[in-house]
């Protein structure tokens, strides 16, 4: 009955419905960009625009991967580098989180710590490399600490601003129901600050790879950076390309990890992002 056009000039409202997309469709669209880049690279190498002394062709790079994987150089370097950046990241995240909660949630912490941390934050961590060499020598400690220092600050800034943005009305209500300070931080403040915490994690993960490169380019005897400096001295552009690709893949993996965490850690977020 409602389908007939009994009322002239009237139209049926058509809500714009969001079509559910299949996972494969969305994954394909996501992969289009990188694939296009690869094709471009391959075409440039094949037509001779890109000569091997500038950058090796995809085929050669693939062969280099096989070679490095076969003689165990790549797995060894990966293990070393990932251990370094992982440990440094863990220390940096923990420090940033604790400092951020302290300054974000307590007034005393804010007054006591914030200005000094903000001062330290402006120091480029690269300028600390020589100092760390003097302090800790040429060993793992210096490298891990450099990564830890680099990753502490983004995490600190995101955490403290996220914690500061907690709804004071919610905190007051929870206090009136007798919730203690630590329970408040654990059950209300941190879940509320999770979006900022994950943004901080994203920044820190990126920085941990950058700091890893900086740490490994200097006086390293193992790791991806060492592999790179060796390839540089023998002008092996294929190995250089492999190393750059590995760094890129590390960044991509970090991003995917954060995306996954966002979905797993915040199940209460509706599609509209509304909260009550």
């Amino acid at each position: 009955m409602s389908g007939t056009t009994a009322h002239q000039g009237l139209v049926r409202p058509r809500p714009q419905r969001r079509r559910g997309r299949g996972r494969t469709y969305s994954a394909t669209v996501r992969a289009l960009g990188p694939i296009a880049l690869l094709v471009l690279w391959w075409a440039a190498s094949a037509t001779g625009v890109l000569t091997p002394d500038v950058l090796a062709s995809p085929g050669e790079v693939l062969r280099a991967v096989g070679e490095l994987w076969g003689n165990g150089q790549l797995p060894d370097a990966l293990t070393t580098s990932l251990t370094r950046s992982g440990l440094g990241l863990l220390i940096g995240l923990a420090a940033g989180l604790v400092l951020g909660i302290t300054t974000g949630f307590t007034r005393l912490g804010d007054e006591l710590l914030d200005s000094s941390i903000q001062t330290l934050r402006t120091i480029p961590f690269l300028s600390l490399v020589p100092l760390f060499m003097v302090w800790f020598g040429i060993n793992e400690t210096a490298k891990i600490l450099l990564i830890a220092v680099a990753t502490t600050f983004p995490m600190y800034v995101s955490t403290s601003s996220g914690v500061r943005n907690t709804d004071p009305k919610l905190v007051e209500a929870m206090r009136s129901f007798g919730m203690g300070r630590f329970a408040l931080v654990r059950e209300v403040v941190l879940p509320g600050a999770l979006p900022s915490l994950l943004a901080g994690l994203r920044l820190s993960m990126t920085l941990s790879v950058i700091a890893l490169i900086a740490a490994e380019e200097i006086n390293a005897t193992a790791g991806i950076g060492y592999l790179m400096s060796q390839a540089q001295s023998y002008a092996r552009t294929d190995i250089l390309a492999v190393c750059i690709l590995v760094y890129g893949l590390l960044g991509l993996t970090a991003d995917m990890v954060v995306r996954l965490l966002e979905r797993v850690l915040m199940p209460w977020r509706t599609t509209q992002g509304a909260t009550r």
Binding site: K169, E187, R276
Partner: protein, 251 residues
């Protein structure tokens, strides 16, 4: 003034609260007996919410004596649910572990036991406020503080919520202080109504209208007019021109 109850739940004497150089509460005196439902009316900024916040230990007093029971809970104007906790966890928030049974019973009382596993963001305004009510009742308060809990609800939901609150308060018998600016709501629910003006209670009298209270009852209308007068709202003799807000209760 009514006689101070033999076993009071709330005793306030000479209460003073100053903001800047303005005394919002000045020499205020209030008694609430155990199990008594008191509605506190007042214009915006008259200090009624301040009084409730002092009784709930959310705000400090500048002078006077305030005595309240240990077990007291607040229902705020907004639900104030923790978005990262499911409904049942919101009800049992800050309670010792192993109280989900109590929480489920409280949710059943407000008719939301089927939503125990839902996220707060998926609830409607009325449902969220019912969760806030369950969260207050599960603590078995001796004093229940209601800070305009129906103000953010639509008119129909508000009427249903008022009935629900009245029923649950009759069942659990806490002392209740309902802060509101809705005269009909106050007369419908309360055993006693008080009007706060110029820092003290200018009216404090028992509601003698027979239950169930019908806004059409002449006693209801007379009390409403008197209270509106006390609130400084001019009422003309004919009741049909009463302010629109108070007509909400008429269905």
């Amino acid at each position: 003034m009514t006689d101070p109850a033999p076993r009071p739940a709330v005793r306030v004497r000479e209460l003073r609260r100053v903001f800047g150089d303005r005394a919002v509460l000045d020499g205020l005196r209030l008694d609430i007996a155990r199990g008594e439902f008191v509605a506190l009316l007042g214009a915006s900024g008259s200090g009624k919410t301040t009084l409730l916040r002092i009784l709930g230990a959310l705000d400090g007093a500048d002078g006077g004596e305030v005595l309240v029971p240990e077990a007291r809970t607040v229902v705020f104007q907004e639900p104030r649910l923790v978005p990262s906790k499911k409904v049942l966890a919101n009800v049992t928030v800050a309670l010792p572990r192993g109280r989900s049974g109590h929480g489920l019973r409280a949710l059943a009382e407000v008719g939301l036991e089927r939503h125990a596993d839902a996220w707060p963001a998926t609830l409607s305004g009325g449902e969220a406020q019912r969760v806030a009510l369950a969260r207050a009742l599960v603590r078995e308060p001796e004093l229940l503080l209601l800070d305009e809990p129906f103000a953010a609800l639509d008119a129909l939901t508000r009427l249903k919520m008022q009935d629900l609150v009245g029923e649950l308060c009759r069942k659990h018998r806490p002392a209740v202080l309902l802060v509101t600016h809705d005269v009909d709501e106050a007369v419908r629910l309360a055993d006693r109504v008080a009007v706060l003006r110029d820092g003290r209670l200018v009216t404090d009298e028992p509601v003698t209208v027979d239950r169930p209270r019908d806004p059409g009852d002449p006693a209801f209308g007379a009390l409403r007019r008197r209270l509106l007068d006390d609130l400084g709202v001019a009422t003309t003799p004919q009741p049909s021109t009463a302010p629109e807000r108070t007509e909400v209760g008429v269905i």
